[in-house]
């Protein structure tokens, strides 16, 4: 290519006497194959559900499914912002305690069926958002490790919840109870809310600029900063959402239980959320994953526990199985990664050198 260029706007390819390079796309078949290898969990989930249905015959009964979905929904509501945090390179370990705090706050307001349910929900969510704000400020603007910050608040917030309510409050009344056990069109309210959260988050991540910013911050924070992205503000907002969502999950939980035991609410919940997020293909290193995967992860975890219960496996063995499932799923994901790369290599020509004058 000659260096004595003219100030025209034609492309380099045209000027060197070739037709404009065609845009190469990945064909649909390859996309489906690649989608399956991206989400090996989908295959596993289908196989597991089919196997359970065959062996127990009750896995797909609506009564059973409703229970599974309700459990999964509480995790999903928190996993949505949780996954977004992991995608942008942060983590929130405090959600179990924030759930307890939210539950206790709502419970205090509603004690003995006296309070206003709307006030209870708003106050609980506001308190949760405040926890998220503190976590977020320390992790983003102060640059502390979010792992350590939220590990600290995991302990501290649990303490606050217990201080607020040394003795469990209970009997909250039917209106409030609807949040926990009510259904709309036969489906639990929490499931509708989880579905809405997943859809909205999925849309934000894939369809809006800020969604792309979330990924960019996780992939390369410095490059995102140099590209003008608000690399502190975006994760801060997600931290606030994470706290608010955890507190809301607490409201749902105490409404279901009709009791708010500060010491027991949401114990180990943060690990269930993280397990579901990681099962769903969100990489702990950031920048990878999406809401479809999170949905699968939450459902997989719920179906697994439920299936084991149906099969008469004891709780302790269920914990063993969930742990093994996480490691196995990640091993499988790693295994399919190489398959995926081969497929992608076949679908799109591998770039060699740019070969400008070749």
């Amino acid at each position: 290519m000659s260096a004595t260029s003219t100030p025209d706007a034609t492309s380099g390819a045209q000027r060197s006497g070739r037709a404009p390079a065609p845009v190469q796309s990945v064909p649909l078949g390859a996309r489906i194959r690649s989608g399956l290898t991206h989400n090996p969990l989908l295959v596993l989930l289908v196989v597991m559900v089919a196997a359970l249905q065959v062996t127990t015959g009750t896995a797909l009964n609506w009564g059973n499914l409703r229970g599974v979905l309700l459990d999964a929904a509480v995790i999903a509501i928190v996993a949505v912002p949780g996954a977004m945090l992991v995608i942008c390179g942060y983590i929130d370990l405090s959600v179990g305690s924030t759930l307890a705090l939210g539950g206790v706050v709502a419970g205090k307001v509603m004690a003995n069926g006296q309070g206003n349910p709307a006030v209870a929900v708003v106050l609980a969510v506001a308190v949760g958002a405040f926890v998220g704000l503190v976590n977020g400020l320390l992790s983003t603007y102060f640059g502390l490790s979010s792992f350590i910050v939220t590990l600290g608040s995991l302990t501290a917030v649990r303490g606050v919840a217990q201080l607020l309510s040394p003795l469990p409050v209970n009997t909250f009344g039917d209106t409030f109870g609807f949040l926990g056990i009510g259904t709309i069109a036969g489906v639990p309210l929490a499931v509708w809310l989880a579905l809405a959260a997943l859809l909205i988050a999925g849309a934000v991540l894939t369809m809006t600029p800020v969604g792309r910013h979330v990924y960019a911050i996780g992939v390369n924070r410095e490059a995102a900063f140099l590209s003008g992205v608000r690399v502190q503000q975006v994760p801060l907002v997600v931290f606030v959402l994470s706290g608010a969502a955890a507190a809301f999950a607490g409201v749902v939980t105490v409404a279901r239980l009709n009791s708010a035991p500060a010491g027991q609410l949401g114990l180990g919940f943060e690990l269930q959320v993280l397990t579901a997020v990681l099962l769903g293909g969100v990489a702990l290193t950031g920048g990878e994953g999406g809401m479809f995967g999170v949905t699968l992860g939450v459902l997989f975890l719920g179906m697994l526990r439920n299936g084991l219960t149906l099969l008469g496996v004891t709780t302790f063995w269920q914990s063993v199985a969930s742990g093994v499932a996480l490691v196995a799923a990640i091993a499988i994901a790693k295994g399919t990664h190489s398959v995926r790369q081969r497929l992608e290599a076949r679908a799109a020509p591998t770039p060699k050198s740019s070969g400008g004058n070749a």
Binding site: M1, S2, A3, T4, S5, T6, P7, D8, A9, S11, G12, A13, Q14, P20, A21, P22, V23, Q24, S25, V26, M207, T208, P209, G211, R212, Y215, A216, V219, N220, E222, A223, A224, F225, L226, S227, G228, V229, R230, G287, E288, A348, P349, T350, P351, K352, S353, S354, G355, G356, N357, A358
Partner: protein, 500 residues
Amino acid sequence: MGLVLQGLTKRYGATLALDGVDLTIPSGSVHGLLGHNGAGKSTLIKCLGGATSPTAGTMELDGQPLVDLTPRRAIASGVAVIYQHLSLVGNLSVADNLFLGQEVRSGGVLVHARHQREAAAATLAELGSSISPRTLVRDLPIGQRQLVEVAKALQRNARLLVLDEPTASLAGDEAARLVELVERLRERGLAILYVTHLLAEVTRLADRVSTLRDGKQVFESDMAGLTTADLAASVSGRSAGRPPAPPAPPADPPVVLRTRRLQGRGMGPVDLDLRAGEVVALFGLVGSGRTRILETLYRGGTQETEVDGTPVAVGSPAKSLRAGICLVPGDRRTQGLFGRLSALDNSVFGVLASLGRGPVRSRAAERRAFTDVARHVALRPLVPELPAENFSGGNQQKVLISRSLQQGDRLRVLLLDEPTQGVDVGARAEIYDVVHRLAARGAAVLFATNEADEVLALAHRCLVVRDGRIVEELDVADLQPRDLVVRLHDAPAHQERNSA
């Protein structure tokens, strides 16, 4: 005895990084290796250090063939590579670093700390150093860390020492001490490969010298009787010619960027005037502050800056972007590219909002915008979905430049840091072409480089940078490559450093 390389060849895809290099370094001698960025020096070092394996050719050290090297096996075979980024553990003491991975044990279990300290002190003393073996490495200045790295190599019975730009990060007196160290090591009978940009160091230290260009060894000679001018000519490769000049800027153009008292950490104060259609080089070595000038201009620092005559608030990348200033950073991997995201996402990243409808992204508009600009920069392959990290170096750079070009007419000033580092020759010409066409549209371009040829092929005006300041302004039209190479390598700062 010593190092013998025969027909060493390394191919990356379609690019020949090394093309049949023959090299012999007898024990007890220093061999200087010169060449541009991308000439193949780094690849040669990586082959020796086991970081990559050659496609063809043989390597032999003291009669033993070096085959299937890994970094670990290279060390075991007596090859020690001192990279610019040192491989020491800051939290460990000097002695612990020296014995890392081959600790002396008492009773087969516990580390024999006293024995290690004594041995470390002995090795350091041989190198003429009195660093205490108990000192933590992180408490040492950079020059002494380098010495510790060399001591570590000796502790491992290295017989070939490869030094990669050893003085690039050193202050004047530290560099002088390094020169003494290299002389001591030569006396000890090591074969030393000394890779550098600084001609004066080669003249001072080397017994023999060779020059790489485009992967080939184009020059090899004993040092006796050679001058730095001969070396400069061998590096630039044209004793008389120069690359074709860039298209001339329009006559008497308006000033696009006017910056006064630009000052930041390690640079300034600097005044800059960039005119419409003008391409200006910041020419200096690594560490001269050329990158700092670009980064300070883009990220903040104190400055009074006007774009097209309007004072603008600069102070963060977001503000610079709003003012029409874009930066293509020098370190693509850590500062520029979103590796796992697609080429399309990388390219349109800065204009997602303006391409969308309301808050929602428009895939169709993004794809059109990507395709337009990707064709303009001749991106290959033109696959929007391909992750950016899967492109070759040159095409990664095109993706990054395309991110700035997406700004369209809002782009008034493009800052490029080492625009063709790790970019092969073909893509390099294409990138130059893209820059010139951008300038022809009335934007101003400021780029940093240490390559004379790049200045001559790309710039209208050259600002020589030293110690964070602009020390000389040159009209590129009357320059020969050698004029620039000499300015770079025989800079007064280095003469002071060598006589210190």
